[in-house]
Every structure is written in structure tokens, then in C-alpha cells.
């Protein structure tokens, strides 16, 4: 086993998976973990409300990256939940004594090292505990530049926050990594699955169809009875795309990095073109956010312009997935 080194990542879950695997002796980048974990998606679920706003997601639901990587690489991962904070803490201490690095699911709101303005009630944040001292647990939170120390009680509070996605003290660690992992096979499978989901999902809320649905909703914004709603709605989309650790452009740029790495592993130069196309899609999403933010700043409600920017994202994404499918990996 190597000694543990903190790595600054874009996203919590893919960052934790990459760090845990690297520590366990299977070095893998965050982008690779995100890619083979099928992290990328798009979902627009108007019937699920978050603070009164429809659920917009640029990635798969919490825990899905860990579970997919585990199954695809055949890892032995232990996942636990607890009924109370004291037994969770005792168990964590004994795991650390065994020399394990432990991944935890926590709330964002109750983590003292998060800047106050970024604390919202999101219960599916991921971080790692790599030790403890007299003051508290030593935490490696992938979305922060440096490791931090969190006082024991504060971590309990974050691990046992209530509400949607309540973590219930959830923790996980890698028990064993099998020999002879076929990374190339995992990559091919993952790319095919993501493309299939984005292009051909039978559900109208997912993939390109979900994006089209969001576009329709944006065009209807001027009819909304509440004056502040359109601006808050667009701000909500931007936050889901840029604020919550996506690596920029709603995870699209991270996926482009994955495709570039996949080109090396598979020895398929064409995947580099795919990576370039995905970068274009990510950049279009950044343009879309920039245009939408003008409304949040108090500008005119330019829905036509925002919708046409979104259409460019949809077209750019359709192009990548069709191209990737055409490669017959």
C-alpha cells in the first residue's frame, strides 16, 4: 500500500473513487472513474421539486458512480449504514486503526469547513477520512484544495443529517481489488451505455429528450405568474451545472478528459476526436450558463436567446454520441 495523498478533484464522488482506488494500488484518474462509472447523464424531472424548483441533473444519482465502478471492475467494496452516531464513530475509529481509508456520505450543510454561502441541504456529499488526532478526524474532501480536520461531533452531525438522501452514517471502503482487471473492456462498455442512454432512452425526462423538455420549459417562463420565478429558475439550472463540483460545463469537460484518456488505453486515435467534440459541447453549456446568468443579474428575460443556446448544446451532444456509437468499440 502507498501512503495516502490528497488529490484535488472536480466532483466529490468520482474524486473519492479515484483516490480510494489509487490508494488501494490501482491508480486511476478522476475522469476515468467518472467515465467507467457512467457518471454522465442529463435528467430534467419537473415532478420532483428541490426548494420549489424542478430537479435538474447533469450526472447520475448519488452512489451510482461507486456502485457502477465496483461492479464493472469487480471490486470488493464494503458499504455500511448505522442506526446511531456513537456506533458509527466507534466503527470508523477501528477501521482507521486497521489502516483503511474510509469514504463517507455526508450532508454539505453541517460541514464546518464549507464556506457559509455554499452550505445547502444536500445530503449526498462524499469525502474520505484518513486518520484522526486529538482535535478530530482528518478529512480529505476531494473538492477542496487541502485536507482539513473536522471536530468529532461536527462530523457526526453531517453524517446523521436528516431529510432526502439521509446518509444514515453511510460509509464504504475497498476490501480487495481483483487481479487482472480489464480496463479496456470496462471503458468500451461504459461508453456504449452512456451513448445509448443519452440518445435512446425511452423516458422523456432523460438524455437529449430531457434537454428538449427543459428547453420547452424555458420558453414558457414568461407566462409564469410569479415575477421572480424565471430568474430563480435559471439560477437554479446554472447552479446544478456549474456550482456543485462539475468540473465545468455540467461534467461535459470531465467526460471529454475521460474520452482522451480512453483513446490512449484503447489505442483508438478516433476517440480523441470524440473528446474534442465533447469539449465543444461543454463549452456550449458554459455559453448557455453565461447567457442565462444575464437574467439572474436583473436583465431582460431573453428566453428565445437562452433556448437557442440550449439548442446548440443539444446539437453538439447529439453529434458526439452518434460519433461514438459509430466507432463500434
Amino acid at each position: 500500500m502507498e501512503s495516502f495523498t490528497h488529490r484535488h478533484s472536480a466532483h466529490c464522488e468520482s474524486g473519492v473513487v479515484s483516490s480510494l482506488l489509487t490508494y488501494a494500488g490501482f491508480p486511476i484518474s478522476e475522469a476515468m472513474a467518472f467515465g467507467i462509472g457512467n457518471g454522465l447523464t442529463f435528467a430534467y424531472l419537473p415532478f420532483i421539486k428541490i426548494d420549489g424548483m424542478p430537479l435538474v441533473a447533469y450526472r447520475m444519482p448519488p452512489k451510482s458512480i461507486i456502485k457502477t465502478v465496483k461492479n464493472r471492475l469487480g471490486l470488493d467494496v464494503v458499504m455500511k449504514k448505522y442506526s446511531n452516531a456513537s456506533s458509527a464513530q466507534e466503527d470508523l475509529v477501528s477501521l482507521l486503526e486497521e489502516g483503511k481509508i474510509v469514504g463517507l456520505q455526508t450532508s454539505v450543510f453541517w460541514l464546518p469547513y464549507f464556506p457559509p454561502e455554499m452550505r445547502f441541504h444536500f445530503n449526498a456529499h462524499n469525502l474520505m477520512v484518513y486518520g484522526k488526532n486529538d482535535e478530530g478526524f482528518l478529512i480529505s474532501d476531494p473538492v477542496f484544495e487541502e485536507p482539513v480536520t473536522v471536530e468529532f461531533h461536527a462530523l457526526d452531525k453531517a453524517r446523521f443529517a436528516k431529510g432526502v438522501f439521509a446518509p444514515k452514517g453511510a460509509c464504504y471502503y475497498i476490501e480487495r481489488i481483483p487481479d487482472g482487471i480489464d480496463l479496456a473492456k470496462a471503458i468500451k462498455k461504459a461508453i456504449k451505455k452512456t451513448c445509448g442512454m443519452m440518445l435512446y432512452t425511452p423516458l422523456p425526462w432523460v438524455g437529449l429528450r430531457g434537454m428538449r423538455m427543459m428547453k420547452k420549459a424555458i420558453l414558457k417562463l414568461p407566462n409564469h405568474p410569479h415575477k421572480r420565478y424565471p430568474s430563480l429558475y435559471l439560477g437554479h439550472i446554472i447552479r446544478m451545472q456549474e456550482e456543485i463540483g462539475t468540473g465545468g460545463g455540467g461534467f461535459r469537460l470531465m467526460y471529454a478528459a475521460f474520452l482522451a484518456e480512453a483513446a490512449e488505453v484503447l489505442g483508438r486515435e478516433e476517440l480523441k476526436n470524440g473528446s474534442g467534440m465533447m469539449t465543444e459541447a461543454g463549452d456550449k453549456w458554459r455559453q448557455f450558463a453565461l447567457t442565462a446568468s444575464k437574467v439572474c443579474k436583473g436583465g431582460e428575460l431573453i428566453v428565445e436567446e437562452i433556448a437557442s443556446k440550449l439548442q446548440e448544446c443539444i446539437d453538439a451532444e447529439e453529434k458526439v454520441y452518434r460519433f461514438l456509437r459509430g466507432l463500434k468499440l
Binding site: R119, A161, G247, T279, S293
Partner: protein, 134 residues
């Protein structure tokens, strides 16, 4: 996004920290580039924060007039909405809605108050006497 295009716009919210962003560097290879912030993101975050501040301020005024309970002030101060508070406390939405009113709140059992103290992480005295929002 190219490495040199990664925004470095000092998002005040990060408190000097930086966020990892993916960008294409020299030779066309992807790498994580730390970003000190992007105005677009800062606007969206501050909008959400300000919305809670506005709701908190309204709740405080209505608490001063003995229309709302102090619970409503704390709910928004903790960045919760009616549904978040209902999910976290385990009470039904209609119950929470009632508890947000001045009168019904005052007759709450200490058992129910206990639940709110835990969820909001406040003392009884703090809950009953919220400070005026800044």
C-alpha cells in the same frame, strides 16, 4: 475550454480557495486546472443565498408582529423550506405549516420542540428569541 480560458474571477464565496475545473492544456491534453471562480456561478449562488435572506427577513418582520413563529425565522436562516423542514423533522407538512404560526407554536409540546432544536441545532432560548437578521 482551454487552460488559459479558465476563469480566475475571485469568487468571494470561495474565501480564497480554488475549485478544480477541466481544461485543455498545452499539447491538447486535458488536466485539472484550479479556478478562483467564475462570475456566472457566483451570481447564481448569491441569488439562491439572497432568496433565503429575503425570506428570513420577511419571516422576522412577521414574527415581530406576532403573526409567524420564531420557527419560521430559523427555518429560513438554516436555508430550509417547508418541505426540507418537514423531511428533516419527520412532521407532516401541514403540521409544520401550523407550527410556523405564532399561536400554535406557543402551545407546542416540549417533545415536538426538542425535535426542532435537534434539527436546527439551536438551544431553546435561541429558538424562542431569534436575533434580527443583518
Amino acid at each position: 475550454m482551454k487552460k488559459e480560458e479558465v476563469p480566475q474571477e475571485d469568487n468571494a464565496i470561495y474565501r480564497g480557495g480554488r475549485k478544480a475545473v477541466y481544461a485543455v492544456g498545452e499539447g491538447g491534453t486535458y488536466a485539472i486546472t484550479p479556478s478562483s471562480g467564475w462570475k456566472v456561478e457566483e451570481i447564481a449562488t448569491m441569488q439562491a443565498v439572497d432568496e433565503f435572506r429575503r425570506l428570513e427577513r420577511d419571516a422576522w418582520e412577521s414574527f415581530s408582529d406576532h403573526r409567524s413563529s420564531p420557527l419560521e425565522v430559523w427555518m429560513y436562516r438554516r436555508r430550509m423550506t417547508l418541505s426540507t423542514l418537514s423531511e428533516c423533522s419527520g412532521f407532516w407538512k401541514w403540521q409544520v405549516k401550523r407550527h410556523l404560526k405564532y399561536g400554535p407554536f406557543r402551545s407546542l409540546s416540549s417533545k415536538k420542540i426538542e425535535v426542532y432544536l435537534e434539527v436546527l441545532d439551536v438551544s431553546l432560548d435561541e429558538l424562542n428569541n431569534p436575533k434580527e437578521p443583518e
